[in-house]
């Protein structure tokens, strides 16, 4: 355990290092800021798309119809079995009466007299069905397979295209953003590592004296780690501030200029995005600074 004065001293030295090495430190902060800025943009886009996809997924449902001779109790028994499956998020039972009511509402609105002829004989008597909403659209196929195996199931209506497209698009978006983010992070680690290396060279004589006087590894290395962490911290805080200011304005601009989007898209509010983006970016910035300086110290500073 070191003394408080030692921590204060190493913190000061870390700040002094940045000052001594202004141009490289600035370049590193700028690169880190660019990386985190791009990360923030991707994060915002991905989060919004995921929210849109989730909204769309929630509207995707499978409709299951049953054999004519099945009683309502038997149908509900099958329904109970299906509801126990993990793929199922929500199930709604539509009785033949309800199906007819819905049908009348949809097709005989304003012409109720036309439907009166069917009062005694429900034309949808065999239309009892379950509407099943999925917890994850990608699991639609496995659920359909299970339902098909149940005795008494006559027909399953489903939309393979919507399910597969949404799930594939979600995956693709995830892969692309992960690849871009990984590349950006590697560039940031490389640049911070370079800055620390220059710092070590600038302070070569001082380090040599420190070692001969009897400074511990901690005292020799810590200022460089602090330098890296501070660069990471500043480099991630700046773009976060800019992104926060920009986000609301961009959403307002899109909604005003592309009015048709209002019907199909609902953007997440800034607070929802930044509740996760802020800690992730700061941890990333500090982490990259720490890793970048550690790698360089291990490689270039023998104590």
């Amino acid at each position: 355990m070191h003394k408080l004065s030692t921590y204060i001293y190493t913190l000061k030295q870390g700040i002094v290092n940045i000052g001594k090495n202004k141009m490289f430190s600035l370049a590193s902060v700028a690169t880190m800021a660019a990386c985190i800025f791009l990360f923030g943009i991707f994060y915002s886009i991905v989060s919004n798309f995921q929210s849109i996809v989730k909204d769309a997924e929630e509207k995707v449902a499978i409709t299951v119809f049953f054999d004519e001779e099945l009683t309502e109790d038997e149908i509900k028994e099958i329904g109970d079995r299906i509801s126990k499956r993990s793929e199922v998020k929500k199930m709604v039972y539509i009785s033949p009466e309800q199906a007819w009511e819905d049908y009348k509402e949809k097709y005989f609105e304003g012409n109720e007299a036309l439907s009166a002829g069917f009062e005694e004989d429900n034309p949808l008597a065999n239309s009892a069905n379950y509407q099943i909403y999925l917890s994850d659209v990608s699991k639609q196929a496995s659920l359909v397979k299970y339902i098909k195996q149940q005795d008494g199931v006559r027909q399953i209506n489903k939309s393979d295209v919507v399910a597969n497209t949404l799930s594939d698009f979600n995956k693709l978006l995830g892969y692309i953003s992960a690849a871009i983010i990984i590349i950006l992070l590697l560039v940031a680690v490389f640049l911070i590592s370079n800055t620390i290396m220059v710092g070590i060279n600038v302070r070569k004589d001082e380090i040599a004296i420190m070692k001969l006087i009897g400074a511990t590894d901690f005292l020799v290395k810590e200022p460089f780690i602090i330098e890296g962490v501070l660069i990471g911290l500043v480099g991630s805080a700046i773009p976060l501030g800019i992104l926060y200011l920009m986000y609301g304005r961009i959403i307002t601009y899109i909604m005003e200029h592309f009015i048709f989007l209002n019907n199909i898209m609902k953007f997440l509010p800034a607070n929802t995005i930044f509740k996760m983006l802020t800690p992730i970016s700061l941890i990333l910035g500090v982490g990259i600074g720490y890793v970048g300086s550690k790698i360089t110290l291990r490689k270039h500073l023998k104590v």
Binding site: K3, S5, D205, I209, L212, I213, G214, A215, L219
Partner: protein, 226 residues
């Protein structure tokens, strides 16, 4: 205090920088190490500070066998050795006070202790009035005094000086040697590597002569005549 037993150091295969050296230096002694360039003087000092490892033999300092000294214990070991160099090795961007305080800061001394010790040490080396000066504002002799103050501030048992007068005019050289002598008189073991035979002759201390890595002469204090 310092014992070298059959110590050899090879940088490249076959050419020894030190060859089967046996030296014993007692606590409180003042010893000159002399010899031409390439005689192994600097290697000798670097072995004592554990900047280098011997290829063969055993070195014991303050009762510590350096071969058995673990890497993480090296900083603690070095705190008992003060080093002074020909080129002073001061931090150019810091003033006299900060250069001396630096040595205490890096061994994690409390700020209160630093404030107490540094002015005292600067008085000892005669630089109390110049505590705010930067190294470039000082003469060579004054810079070397700062370096000596920095080497002594942590009260080491041994002071190693590598050509401490090499960059100084004769007057300043004599001032520095008297300072080292007075430090030795207070009990610190002093080992000085030098080319300056005039000083060696006048100081009448123990002199060890190296040639091509071998000790060719070891003369007791007061007996040496170049």
């Amino acid at each position: 205090m310092i014992t070298l037993s059959h110590v050899s150091k090879y940088y490249t295969e076959g050419i020894p920088a030190l060859n089967d050296v046996n030296i014993e230096i007692e606590e409180g002694e003042f010893v000159f190490i002399v010899g031409n360039s390439g005689s192994g003087k600097s290697t000798f000092l670097k072995l004592l500070t554990k900047e280098l490892e011997p290829s063969q033999g055993v070195i014991t300092v303050n009762g510590i066998n350096l071969k058995k000294l673990r890497r993480r214990r090296i900083p603690m070991y070095r705190r008992n050795i003060g080093m002074v160099y020909q080129d002073f090795r001061l931090l150019k961007d810091r003033n006299v006070y900060e250069n001396v305080a630096f040595a205490q800061r890096v061994i994690e001394m409390s700020p209160r202790q630093i404030k107490k010790d540094v002015p005292l040490m600067l008085s000892t080396v005669g630089l109390a009035a110049k505590y705010k000066s930067k190294p470039k504002e000082l003469s060579g002799g004054e810079q070397q005094r700062v370096a000596i103050a920095r080497a002594l501030i942590n009260k080491p048992k041994i002071l190693l000086a590598d050509e401490p007068t090499g960059n100084l005019d004769p007057d300043n050289a004599w001032d520095i040697m008297s300072l080292l002598d007075s430090i030795n008189a207070r009990g610190t073991t002093v080992v000085v590597v030098t080319h300056n035979m005039e000083i060696v002759k006048a100081m009448r201390k123990r002199v060890i002569t190296l040639k091509k890595g071998v000790v060719i002469d070891d003369t007791k204090a007061g007996e040496w005549n170049a």
